[in-house]
Amino acid sequence: MNEPVLWIKDLKVGYRIYGGFLKVIDGIEIKVFPGERVGLVGETGCGKTTTMKAALHLLPPNGKVSQGQIFLDGKEVTRISKPELRKIRNSGIAMIFQDPTSALNPVFTVGVQLIEAIANGREGKSSKKENFKDAVSILEKVFMPDPQRIMRNFPFQLSGGMRQRVCIAMALSRAKKLLIADEPTTSLDVTIQAEILDLIQRIVIENSLSLILITHSLGVARQMTDRIYVMYAGTIVETAPTWAIYDGPLHPYTKGLFDSVPRLTGEGFADGIPGRIPNYLNPPLGCRFQPRCEQSLPICSQKKPQLLEISKDHWVSCFLYEEKRGEK
């Protein structure tokens, strides 16, 4: 089997705050293979972004990886010095952030920022002219109309969709192996979203990159990925090939999520999931979904469930299925 591009192993991440330690990520395992498109799906505050930030060493100063390992391209990067980190970041990994407005520097033109990214990615020196030409050609690759003019524009002169294109262009100039997209279309309208998603899809396939798409939209994840990890409160509750999860979600949380999505077929939707995400200062001892789960068993509040393979490559972490397996 191929070596994974990114392997997150038994990761625990938390944040120190005034009131104590927020135990956000609670032992998650994610593997992304070359050419695979992976979706990380979950609701606000479930730790999707924290996971990726931890993997790329982008956590804020109060964030701390308390356990686990991260491998990029087979090399452990969990604890690593700054110069080494720079080398690894240069090695073909790029990230697109949710809000293109704050991802770009407002006081520099698009051109300056794009050229900086390109020049830093180069080995050895390169001429200004060359960098400029590369920047224009990369803007063309993201179907930016009139790239010469855009190079001289400041971010505020562009619309949201255009700004996101600039961010994608920047990422594209560096991504050789893995592209991480953190809710790339959440702040955009549905027609622009469709364009940007098409663009990402195309770039990933043309350059045979791996993709990690962080999203809260089940529709977007279905359209864009081969494999899905469903996250809830810092844990992976279910993972399977995309088609399998959309055919039959297993975990009570995934089921609840699917039942709450309004459909175009118009059959209405369930009442959603009562309650809200647990307080990370003092998360439930057992299954983190237990307080909101309508099917919870006595064991759920005492022990943490482990991921179990229910059918081929369809893993779920829930005691309901452990019981059923026991009966067999």
Binding site: E43, G161, I192, A194, S260, V261, P262, R263, F269, G272
Partner: protein
């Protein structure tokens, strides 16, 4: 047929964005540029559009937060083209609004009880003696426990906050509730609960909703009629079933085909993929002719010159497009 509850006739709302000193003319942002529609009693009308289409401006103008530039707002036969302050109390009481972000629409320094008491006392719907029990009733309506009375907005979750905002809007027993993207700041598992509560309340009290949103799949499940707005104009309006089965305007088709869906059956309901092109132009300088022609895959010469007429093509199904 009954008289419509709300009639909007050729409503326009322009905002002055740039004005030279000593000069009378200025540049205007044409947020709403001549729209006409009716809202019947007990009806849910979905007003759908992208950001910048002017849908929220319609909501705010009907709610009386803006004075219309021209056109008429007629509520139960009375013309109310003024801001809410100048409207009679009975009309104010009958039109209420719920905003997108309950975090900023609820006063953080008042507890739930104070928030809900306010409209009850203002409209003389409760005396100081029975106001407490009325507040309890309101909480019960939105299925929140009575213990919430003493909580502050900061102590409760986003979904529950929005339920409080809904309870506050319903306190005056309105006939028309304007919902301005009430769930777009919330997660889908929480949205479901809010929308179902809103649907139940609408049926129970025979309310009319003007539902502003950008989410077409949500409207498929909630609205009786759907209207599509683009750059201050309504491009298409139709009863929900007809709208989704037979979308006529190229923009509607583009929007529908761009929706990400989660089931195969839904894919089949989407029009064939119309590749979306470009972005919504600025409402300060809207295109001549048909507003949509700069992005329309089917445009021809006439679209750049003449503005299409809004015409009825089937019962209740209105479209403005030269092709139809």
């Amino acid at each position: 047929m009954n008289q419509p509850l709300l009639q909007i006739k050729e409503l326009k709302k322009y905002f002055l964005v740039e004005k030279r000193l000593f000069s009378k003319s200025g540049k205007y942002l044409k947020a709403v540029d001549g729209i006409t529609f009716d809202l019947n009693p007990r009806e849910v009308l979905g007003l759908v559009g992208e950001s910048g289409s002017g849908k929220s401006t319609v909501a705010y103008t009907v709610a009386g937060m803006y004075k219309p530039t021209s056109g008429n707002i007629i509520f139960q036969g009375h013309q109310i083209n003024v801001t809410a302050v100048k409207r009679p109390l009975v009309v104010k009481k009958d039109i209420q609004i719920v905003f997108q972000d309950p975090g900023s629409s609820l006063n953080p320094r008042r507890n739930v009880r104070q928030i809900l008491e306010r409209p009850l006392l203002l409209y003389n719907l409760a005396s100081s003696r029975n106001v407490r029990s009325k507040v309890e009733e309101l909480l019960k309506m939105v299925e929140l426990p009575r213990e919430y009375m003493l909580k502050y907005p900061g102590e409760i979750g986003g979904g529950e906050r929005q339920l409080i905002a809904i309870a506050r809007a319903l306190a005056s027993q309105p006939k028309l509730l304007i919902l301005d993207e009430p769930t777009s700041a919330l997660d889908v598992s929480i949205q479901a609960k809010i929308i179902n509560t809103l649907s139940n309340l609408q049926k129970e009290f025979g309310l009319s909703y003007l539902f502003i949103t950008h989410d077409l799949s949500l409207m498929r499940n909630v609205a009786d009629r759907v209207a599509i707005m683009y750059l201050g104009k309504i491009l298409e309006i139709a009863p929900t079933l007809d709208f989704f089965r037979n979308p006529l305007h190229p923009y509607t088709q583009m929007l529908l085909s761009a929706i990400p869906t989660i089931k195969k059956e839904e894919e089949e309901l989407k029009p064939k993929r119309v590749p979306p092109t470009g972005e919504i132009p600025s409402p300060v300088n809207p295109p001549n002719g048909c507003r949509f022609h700069t992005r329309c895959p089917l445009k021809f010469e006439k679209c750049e010159i003449d503005e299409p007429i809004f015409k009825e093509v089937a019962s209740g199904h209105w479209v403005s497009c030269h092709l139809i």
